[in-house]
Symmetry: C2
Subunit: 235 residues, 2 copies
Amino acid sequence: MNLLILEAGDLIAPDRARVTGRRLVHAREILKAQGGSTLRAGLLDGAMGKARVLTLGEDALELELTFDEAPPAKLPLTLLLALPRPKALNRVLASASNMGVARIILLNAWKVEKAYWKSPRMEPGNLREQLILGLEQARDTVLPDLQVERLFKPFVEDRLPALLHGAEGLVADPSGVEACPRKLSGPTVLAVGPEGGWIPAELVSLRLAGLRSVHLGPRILRTETALAALIGRLG
Amino acid sequence: MNLLILEAGDLIAPDRARVTGRRLVHAREILKAQGGSTLRAGLLDGAMGKARVLTLGEDALELELTFDEAPPAKLPLTLLLALPRPKALNRVLASASNMGVARIILLNAWKVEKAYWKSPRMEPGNLREQLILGLEQARDTVLPDLQVERLFKPFVEDRLPALLHGAEGLVADPSGVEACPRKLSGPTVLAVGPEGGWIPAELVSLRLAGLRSVHLGPRILRTETALAALIGRLG
């Protein structure tokens, strides 16, 4: 945790906060916070800066806040991500948030197993927590937009074309002939498929909606690795 | 597993192999191998191609091999990596191998906890297995060189300068003023620090040895994410 993220409910005055639970334990045990010490902190979806420890008890940490910095800019990137397996989901979301993706859309695909949608990890509270963990790591306060699309066809046919107005559209596809571009030229939608890839009919639909196939070379990368490599290359 | 990797001990004739254990289970249950079906396979550190299933029993899978493809080229990249915490080590090694890093050097640093060196995950058999998992994912057969350096100072002062003959040297450093370059210009040594970063004295030593500080923007990334983002950008 490189940034302690406070939520509106933590504020006990405009410049005072009271923190409990996971963040209290982390501040005490990992950041070695003590009375008088200063932590980096920020307000969720707001400014960031310093938090001076006023009191540190067993149950709560009280802080005095001086928030005068803007969070870092997001990448103008919408990630269209076939729902990863539950084991990878948390890491993938935290990683996308860590890297500054502005919007994440979790989408169904033929090779996404139905059971993935029923995983406890899909509960909104967990999804939000993973995004916040990514922000804490990055020193950012702004939650990416997260959208869940359980049906591939209506999303891709009816709503994706509108997302592509004024944006570049790319789909990561090891069979693509064009190498992934090396820098975002503006707002971009990037589609990343499931393990095993998109099926040909899905690739056709994504291309018809306006996405170009791009590849990262002959290697097949794990979803998490591919995602970070693509964003590192585009960012 | 996108490629079944065979080792010399699996060969029962120049074009025949017998596979047991993890790879047998995976071939049967995940790849749905059956008599007559064909799998992608390769010989560790050798050629790759197709393997036809001759017999598939409870205890063993027998294959007929037609290996006529070269493995994909490696990136001319030496990764100088502060030893990650055991929880991350397996994923980081598999990911580096997955992405085609030619050489990995695990190095000590001030913020590497001593206990990390004593983790069971540091056993040579585990290290090798993680590298092979990355190759299986990538469809590559060539193990990266792996070197373990328990002492920072003698390595960086005495041996690193020789590694940098004819190579570019970079150290990922969020405080760097230069953005990470966008493409490898030739053989490159890339140093990636521990969680919490290199300490100033280590950065001085790395710079004296010939590495340039480069950054990936204002965000602090997790080791795994930073590594994939750096390699995606450089690759």
